[in-house]
C-alpha cells in the first residue's frame, strides 16, 4: 500500500456480557479505511455480537467503539454512519425494489430526482438495473441479497457491515458472489466488514481477517499469513485442514530448528522458532504440503535429505482411507507410530488417482519450510 492505513473503526477493549455469559472478551482492533475486513470464527464465538455493537444494535458492557474518530457511545443505530446487510436480507416485502432502495434516502430527506438517480445508480452497481418495479417475492434469494446491498450502498455509508452475506446461497452462486463482493468493494471504495464462519469466503474476499474464538481475537492477519503462518492451534485447525502433532523442541537456532514428535518422527525446519529449548510444542503440517511416494526405492528419504539432515522430515505408513474429489485425492494414512495423518495429492494427470489404493504402503516427505511450530 502506498498511502498509510487510516483506521476508520477503532474497537477499544470491548467486552460484552449477556448475564453471566461473556460473548466478547476485551477485544481491541483497528479496521482501516477502504479495506475488506472479515471477522471469522465458529458459531457462537461472538463475531456477530461484535458486528452488532458496531451497528449499534447491542451496547458494549465495557470499552468503546470509534467510527471515523467519533465515539459511538449513546449514538443509536439510526444515527450511525454505517449500514448493514442482514443475514436474512430483511428486504421489506411490501415495497418494490425501487422503494426498498429509496427508503433510507427518503428518511434522510432526499427528494425527487436525486432519489431516482441514486436508486438507479445503486441498482446498476449490484446489476439489478431494470428491476425497479419488481416485488421481493418475485425474486430469488440472490437477487434479494442484491436489493439489500443496494439499499445499504445507496446511503453511501463510511462502513458497510455484512452479516454472513453468503450463507444462504448455493455453492455456485456463493463463489460468484465472493468475486462480485470483492469487485464491488474495490469499485465503491467503502470499508466492508463481514462476519462469516466460512474460511473459504474469508480467504477469498478479505484484505485482513480477524479470527475470533470464544470472544477473543485469536489472530489478525492477511489471508495468506493466516494460512501459512497460523499463530496457534485454533487458527491452524480452523483455517484450512491441518495435521497437528505434539512434540519437544530439541534444536532452536536463528536459522534452523528441530522438533521430536512421538507421533510423526523427527521434524526439521530451516528457520528458528524462538521457543525455550525442550519446551512442549505442536507441529502443524498442511495435507497438501506432504508428498507421497511408492516405498522401497528410497525416494522419500532422498527427497527429504535435500534440505534436512538424515532421518528428518519423512515418514512411512499405510493408506487407510481415500476420498477422490476430482481435482485432488485425499488420503488418510496410518503411520508406523500408529498416528494418523491426512495427505492431499493433486491429480495432475488423468490417471493419477490410480497410483495408490487402500492398504498400500506409502512413504512420504515434506520440505523443511513446510511445518509450522506452534507454542500454544
Amino acid at each position: 500500500m502506498t498511502e498509510p492505513a487510516r483506521p476508520i473503526i477503532r474497537i477499544q477493549n470491548i467486552t460484552k456480557r449477556f448475564g453471566k455469559m461473556t460473548a466478547v472478551d476485551n477485544v481491541s482492533l483497528d479496521i482501516n479505511a477502504g479495506e475488506f475486513f472479515v471477522l471469522l470464527g465458529p458459531s457462537g464465538c461472538g463475531k456477530t455480537t461484535l458486528l452488532r455493537m458496531i451497528a449499534g444494535f447491542e451496547l458494549p458492557t465495557e470499552g468503546r467503539i470509534l467510527i471515523d474518530g467519533q465515539d459511538m457511545a449513546g449514538i443509536p443505530p439510526n444515527k450511525r454512519p454505517v449500514n448493514m446487510v442482514f443475514q436474512s436480507y430483511a428486504v421489506f416485502p411490501h415495497m418494490s425494489v425501487a422503494d426498498n432502495v429509496a427508503y433510507g434516502l427518503k428518511i434522510a430527506g432526499v427528494r425527487g430526482g436525486e432519489v431516482r438517480d441514486r436508486v438507479a445508480e445503486a441498482l446498476e452497481l449490484v446489476k439489478l438495473g431494470g428491476f425497479e418495479t419488481r416485488m421481493p417475492d418475485q425474486m430469488s434469494g440472490g437477487q434479494r441479497q442484491r436489493v439489500a446491498l443496494a439499499r445499504s450502498l445507496v446511503m453511501r455509508p463510511k462502513v458497510l457491515l455484512l452479516d454472513e452475506p453468503l450463507s444462504a446461497l448455493d455453492a455456485k452462486l456463493r463463489a460468484q458472489m465472493q468475486f462480485e463482493l470483492s469487485e464491488l468493494q474495490e469499485k465503491v471504495g467503502i470499508t466492508f466488514v463481514t462476519v462469516t464462519h466460512d474460511q473459504d469466503e474469508a480467504l477469498s474476499m478479505a484484505c485482513r481477517i480477524a479470527v475470533i474464538n470464544k470472544g477473543e481475537v485469536s489472530q489478525l492477519a492477511t489471508p495468506s499469513d493466516l494460512y501459512e503462518y497460523p499463530a496457534n492451534r485454533f487458527v491452524a485447525d480452523f483455517v484450512g485442514s491441518v495435521n497437528i502433532f505434539e512434540g519437544k523442541l530439541t534444536l532452536d537456532e536463528p536459522d534452523k530448528a528441530a522438533v521430536d514428535c512421538p507421533g510423526l518422527g523427527k521434524v526439521y525446519l530451516n528457520h528458528g522458532v524462538t521457543g525455550p529449548h525442550g519446551a512442549d510444542v505442536w507441529v502443524a503440517l498442511r495435507p497438501e504440503k506432504i508428498y507421497l511416494h511408492v516405498p522401497g526405492a528410497g525416494k522419500a528419504v532422498t527427497a527429504a535429505a535435500q534440505d534436512a539432515p538424515d532421518g528428518h522430515n519423512f515418514a512411512r505408513g499405510k493408506i487407510k482411507g481415500m476420498s477422490y474429489l476430482g481435482d485432488i485425492t485425499l488420503f488418510e494414512i496410518e503411520l508406523e507410530t500408529g498416528a494418523r495423518i491426512r495427505v492431499s495429492r493433486p491429480n495432475l494427470s488423468r490417471h493419477d488417482q490410480e497410483d495408490f489404493t487402500w492398504d498400500d504402503k506409502v512413504s512420504m516427505h515434506w520440505r523443511a519450510d513446510s511445518p509450522v511450530v506452534l507454542l500454544g
Binding site: 451497528a55 444494535f57 443509536p76 443505530p77 439510526n78 444515527k79 454505517v82 449500514n83 448493514m84 442482514f86 443475514q87 436474512s88 430483511a90 421489506f92 416485502p93 411490501h94 427508503y103 433510507g104 428518511i107 434522510a108 439489500a148 439499499r151 445499504s152 446511503m155
Partner: protein
C-alpha cells in the same frame, strides 16, 4: 371424448371419491339450507309465511318503508362502524404492546384482555346493565351519542378478537426488518408506520371484518344495554318475530345478509385474499 375420459384417481384426490362428495354436500346443506329457506320465503306472498303462496317483492318495499326497521339498521351500522374503528386501534396497540415489551404483570394483562371472549355473553350483558345503571349513564342524549353505551359494550367484546389476530400475525414478523429500517435511519415511529403496520395489515383487515360482523349481529349484550330509543337491527327483528314471522322479517334479514357478504367481498378484494390467508 377426451374431456370425459376417466383417469385413475390419484392417491390423495379424495375430492373425487363418492363418499367425500356426499359428505361435502351434506355439510353445505347443513350450513346453508336455513339461509336459503329464509331468502326464498322473503318472496312469499303470504302473511303467515308458513306455506308458499306465490312470488312477490312487496315485503321488500314494506321492510324498506318501515321507519323503525330502517332506523334500527342505521343504528346497527353506526355502532358497528364506531366499534370497529375503536377496537382496531385498541386491539392493535394491545397486541403490539404484548408482543414487543416486557412489563410487570404482563401475564395478568395478557389473560384479562382475552377474558371478554370467554365470559358468557349473558353475564357480560347483565354486567353492562348494572354498570351503566351504577354510573348513571345518561340515556337522553341526541343521536348518535345515545348509542354510546352499546358502542362501549361492543368495543369490549370486539377488541380482544383484533388483539388475537394481530398477535398471531406479529409472531411471523422478522425482527431484522425492524433493525434494517432503523439501520437506514428510521425512528421508532417510522419503523412502526413503514414496516410493522404493513406487515400486520392483513390481520387488521381480518380483525376489522370480525369486529364489524360481531357487532352487527350481537343480540344478547345489546339487548341489555339498549334503551327504547336505541333499538338495533337484531333487537328489532326479535321484537317483530314476537308478534308474527312475516316475510318482512325475511326480507330485512336477506338485505342484511347481502350487505355483510358484499362488505366482506369488498374488503377481501381490496386486500387480496392471499394476504388474508397469510394470517392463518
Amino acid at each position: 371424448m377426451a374431456l370425459f375420459a376417466r383417469t385413475p384417481r390419484a392417491p390423495l384426490e379424495y375430492s373425487r371419491t363418492l363418499w367425500m362428495r356426499l359428505w361435502v354436500g351434506a355439510v353445505m346443506v347443513f350450513l346453508y339450507a336455513p339461509l336459503v329457506v329464509l331468502m326464498i320465503f322473503s318472496f312469499n306472498d303470504s302473511k303467515r309465511n308458513v306455506v308458499w303462496r306465490g312470488f312477490t317483492t312487496k315485503y321488500y318495499e314494506k321492510a324498506l318503508g318501515n321507519d323503525q326497521l330502517v332506523e334500527a339498521l342505521l343504528n346497527s351500522l353506526t355502532i358497528a362502524a364506531l366499534a370497529t374503528i375503536v377496537s382496531l386501534a385498541l386491539g392493535a396497540v394491545a397486541a403490539v404492546m404484548l408482543w414487543r415489551f416486557r412489563f410487570p404483570l404482563k401475564g395478568a394483562v395478557d389473560g384479562t384482555i382475552s377474558l371478554p371472549i370467554i365470559v358468557p355473553e349473558i353475564c357480560m350483558g347483565v354486567a353492562f346493565l348494572m354498570f351503566f345503571a351504577a354510573v348513571d349513564w345518561p340515556t337522553d342524549l341526541v343521536w348518535p351519542f345515545n348509542l354510546g353505551a352499546i358502542t362501549i359494550a361492543h368495543i369490549t367484546f370486539c377488541f380482544p378478537f383484533v388483539t388475537m389476530v394481530v398477535r398471531s400475525r406479529l409472531a411471523s414478523f422478522n425482527r431484522e426488518q425492524e433493525e434494517a429500517a432503523k439501520d437506514l435511519g428510521a425512528s421508532e415511529w417510522q419503523v412502526f408506520r413503514d414496516v410493522l403496520i404493513p406487515h400486520i395489515r392483513p390481520a387488521l383487515v381480518a380483525g376489522a371484518l370480525l369486529s364489524f360482523t360481531l357487532s352487527l349481529d350481537d343480540f344478547v349484550i345489546t339487548y341489555f344495554t339498549s334503551g327504547p330509543d336505541t333499538i338495533t337491527f337484531p333487537v328489532k327483528v326479535y321484537s317483530m318475530v314476537r308478534f308474527s314471522v312475516t316475510p318482512e322479517v325475511n326480507a330485512a334479514s336477506t338485505l342484511l345478509i347481502i350487505l355483510t357478504v358484499a362488505l366482506t367481498f369488498i374488503a377481501l378484494k381490496l386486500q387480496g385474499v392471499k394476504a388474508i390467508a397469510e394470517t392463518h
